[in-house]
Amino acid sequence: MSNKQYKQLSFILNGKKVSASVDVRESLADMLRNEFGMTSVKKGCEVGECGACTVLINGNPYDSCIFLAAWIDGKEVTTVEGLVDIDGNISDIQQAFIDEAAVQCGFCTPGFIMSAEHLLNTGKRFSRDEIRKALSGNMCRCTGYQNIINAVENTMDKRLAEKDTEK
């Protein structure tokens, strides 16, 4: 690298407008961890296979390890840190992972939660097979998949039941 190249960015991170000067060689995962302290974004394979670095960009799940930070200008990013409410309480899907013992070593958990959050935000009902497909870009090397799917399914059921009572 002869001379370092930077790009000025502004984007929305977990609901807040932020800006940064980023080295164009950085991945979004690098920038979120190093510049913004978003350490829920885990770096596993760093080639877009394991899903540990999954974040939502404009509401959709992406592997932040293979997304250049330079591309995030003007977009909206959500990480697990953004799921916590103002008082610091964790969200329903996070609590469900605890209740269902869907966490073993925990390294894959934030990525799974973000993929699940995308699915839950659609407000639709999914079969277990459809949940599996929606989570198929995330790998749990402790192989705790059944409990992970249980956690997502239970949260989906709860949210849909709440929606029904609201009507």
Binding site: K7, E26, S27, P61, I66, L68, G137
Partner: protein
């Protein structure tokens, strides 16, 4: 940190072409799910990149006045799978796009990248080939149209000139109207896997659903590039829909394929798959077209 030497960011198609003219050695990066992995692996370490990712004008599916469907080069696999025009007129292409990687990869991967990387296993490439798709390439002198059948020159080599970028994939109305198709991907896993081999068939039946008016079949991982099995197509053109026709089609397909043995599978297994996939895809395409075998 990626080992990128210089990063050029295009702000328009014209700018991208200008950057190509000025930096013929630089690689185009659209979604990056191949390029960034190549940099990480070392193959492309230290390269110059021209990013076209921010060019939203290259996203989306639309109709030309003559009924041609235009798919912007940066349209993601997710967008393809969910697009109403694709679902109505090119359903098989949406289904093929939905087999790529996992959800995250389908959000970042683009149809332009999937074709321009020249890889035989590309799920949308073999499907597009069975639609006689045309690549729209934009250079300093304007647009050049190249049929996908001629676009592939060899493994990882395509007819994209150093001063061009792919701006769209076009599918003519007479190439999709009345056709019904299927994509079959044979892989070890249901997600995050590359095809051991794959097959795409499109069939057009006569009005009474008894005769094959036209059939097109293409393969991924049946040779160094995605390829059409023209022998099979010729054999069944104008024939009656029957079990014998299906067998002739499957046998004919083997005359044009040339699979190799790799760590994923042997040549013999791939040949077996290719015959079986031709059979199943043909039968299912006929069924979707309203006929029955």
């Amino acid at each position: 940190m990626y080992d990128i030497n210089h990063f050029y960011e295009a702000t328009s198609v014209e700018h991208a072409v200008q950057l190509r003219v000025e930096n013929p050695e630089a690689h185009i990066i659209s979604g990056g799910s191949d390029i960034l992995i190549g940099i990480r692996a070392g193959d492309l370490a230290g390269c110059d990149l021209i990013s076209i990712y921010m060019l939203d004008e290259l996203r989306g599916v639309s109709f030309h006045d003559d009924g041609t469907i235009r798919i912007g080069a940066l349209t993601s696999f997710t967008n393809l799978a969910e697009d109403p025009i694709i679902r109505e007129h090119l359903a098989v292409l949406g289904e093929a796009a939905d087999t790529v990687g996992g959800p995250q990869i389908r959000n970042i991967g683009t149809i332009g990248g999937n074709t321009c990387n020249g890889v035989t296993s590309a799920d949308t490439a073999s499907t597009l080939l069975a639609f006689d798709a045309v690549m729209e390439l934009t250079g300093p002198k304007g647009i050049r149209l190249v049929p996908l059948t001629e676009f592939y020159l060899g493994a990882k080599k395509v007819d994209l000139r150093p001063d061009e970028i792919a701006t769209a994939v076009l599918i003519r109305k007479d190439h999709y109207k009345g056709y019904h198709g299927v994509y079959f991907k044979y892989a070890m896993r249901d997600a995050m896997d590359i095809a051991t081999s794959a097959c795409s068939v499109n069939v057009k039946l006569s009005d009474d659903k008894k005769t094959i008016q036209d059939a097109r079949i293409s393969y991924g991982v049946a040779g160094p590039i995605p390829l059409r099995a023209r022998s099979a197509e010729k054999i069944v053109k104008g024939k009656l829909v029957s079990a014998d026709t299906v067998e002739e089609f499957a046998a004919g397909a083997l005359e044009d394929v040339n699979p190799r043995t790799s760590w994923r599978a042997t040549k013999e297994f791939r040949l077996h798959l290719q015959r079986e996939m031709a059979r199943r895809c043909f039968v299912e395409s006929i069924r979707r077209a309203g006929g029955s075998v």
